[in-house]
């Protein structure tokens, strides 16, 4: 184990380590801590300069009500949920199909396609922006959640295929041969054998995809205009301009927008971390 476990160090060093740990944590979390503190304050407190003392009135409930009453945050929330869930479902299906093809069948151009899916992941959004916007306009999908679902599904399929392929390639070939021998069709192999075996990978992938899509801002900015289709990130950026110095409302909005991915992360921390490190840390 590297570094040497702290348990082997003398007691004072252990205490110093722990103290250092908590100091680092407090500094690291300071911005978040500050914003959480602001969600429980009233506008009056903020105007009076009371940022760090006890709030005169505990206003979390009032702030949340105010956010939902004075802005279409509820609608934005629903939009984000629709876009994210549809995309995740679509990507899981498409990427599993592509991954099986790339991992378990031999055909010319296989490595090229694999490389293309990896590279597609890293291209700057700006090189796609004008044609994608144009395409979506011509399809009549501009300013609808469908525009976002369509683009995100296509883009995330690259990463997801790479991710799923790395899992599927590890399944023994004999499994496929055996199933074929028993008379299973290729479709049955996919749904009855591959999918159940890669379920943990699909779970990890879902968490990652949820976070990526939920947090997108650029494509919302490019493909969507009206409140009826805006996701939370874009909505929040707009409200920041509208609320100006009502930092209690802005903070509350930001915390509400961050809540779903954060909650999901805490529920599935292990999957999330394992997913992120796929491909990055191997042998």
């Amino acid at each position: 184990m590297y570094p040497t476990p702290i348990q082997f160090a003398p007691a004072p060093a252990q205490a110093a380590y722990r103290a250092g740990l908590y100091v680092a944590l407090v500094v690291w979390m300071a911005p978040l801590f500050a914003i959480l503190m602001t969600t429980v304050r009233s506008q009056t407190d903020l105007l009076a300069g009371n940022y760090w003392g006890l709030p005169t009135v505990f206003s979390l409930g009032a702030n949340v009500r105010e956010v939902f009453a004075s802005s279409p945050m509820g609608l934005f929330f629903v939009n984000s949920l629709i876009v994210t869930c549809c995309t995740v479902a679509g990507v899981l299906i498409l990427s599993t199909m592509a991954a099986v093809a790339l991992a378990k069948y031999r055909f010319p151009g296989r490595t090229f396609l694999f490389a293309m899916f990896i590279a597609g992941n890293f291209v700057p959004y700006q090189i796609l922006m004008i044609p994608v916007r144009d395409l979506v306009l011509r399809m009549g999908a501009y300013d609808t959640v469908w525009a976002l679902i369509l683009f995100h599904t296509a883009f995330q399929t690259g990463f997801a295929t790479l991710f799923m392929r790395n899992f599927i390639v590890g399944l023994p070939d004999e499994l496929f041969e055996a199933a074929r021998l028993e008379g299973a069709s290729e479709l049955q192999i996919l749904t009855k054998i591959v999918v159940p075996l890669v379920r943990p990978a699909l779970a990890g992938l879902s968490v990652l995809l949820f976070t990526f899509v939920w947090n997108d801002y650029f494509w919302a900015l490019v493909l969507v205009q009206s409140d009826a289709a805006k996701p939370l990130t874009l909505g929040l950026a707009g409200l920041k301009g509208e609320w100006l110095t009502a930092w209690n409302l802005i903070s509350t909005g930001a915390v509400l927008a961050a809540l779903p991915p954060v909650a999901l992360f805490f529920l599935m921390q292990k999957h999330f971390v394992a997913g992120l490190t796929v491909g990055a840390v191997k042998g």
Binding site: M1, P124, P131, A254, Q269
Partner: protein
Amino acid sequence: MRVWSAGVDSVVRRARSARELRGGGADLLTPALLLALPLGLFVLMIVGPILRSLWISLYDWDGTGSATWVGLGNYRELFGDAQFYVSLKNNAIWLVLFLLAPVLGLALAIYLNQKLPEMRLVKALFFMPLVLAPVIVGVVFTWFYDPTFGILAIVFRAIGFAPPAILSNETFVTFGIIVAALWAQVAFCLVLFLAGLSQLDGEMIAAARLDGADGVPLFRYIVLPQLRPVVYTATILTVIMSLRNFDMISVMTQGGPYGSSTVLAYQMFDATIFSYRAGYGAAIATVLFALMSVYIALFLRNSLRQEARER
């Protein structure tokens, strides 16, 4: 994942002999059907648009009306545009300062790689910036830097200085945004390095320790070489991400004040959406794409090599 191990064994043995009998008849139809939809969508939305952007960059186009062929005119104009050099300089600053992320991430990972009862929670809190939208981080830091309401202002007043208006100062603004972006990037590198540390060869380290190695030599000659693949990946990905940043600039400053915090990604958006110059925007995007291709190629080469080694 090892659910198939026991019961499947006998079937597997039968299959093995059957495969030897059958010989490898290549099935092309199944992969073609499986790939049709995902690949079609990918070509429609990613590959096609890249090629079209390159093409559009050769036209003078407002994004809706008719386009006029200008050849390399957009590029000629771009290379004479003072704003382009501001963006390029800022991109360089982003890239260089972002390289702090792997360094800080590794240092933090070494510090956190201990077994304490509360460590799972502590690590989770350190990972947190990673799941927050850049937009939200941007909003949080805008507030953090606010010269009247922000914490930074309070700290400055407490030690008796006038609070700086970081986001409206042409010299500091880019650094202010980068600090905010680094927060999440360090967390990303931390995740990678913690995974790397958990896979170190314990016996080799124990042997080195028995031979009296510790401190810097142990790290330099035993630990770091084993972490090389992770260091490579973390560095390349960090460089790519440094060039992609858009959200925070858009939310925190919109490229201001007076265009002093733009990068190529933002300038492209600004030219296309606010100035209705799609052709010019496409040219900026092409330059950005060309710059990033170098790093994408490096990453790709690494991935494919690793792939080949495992076969």
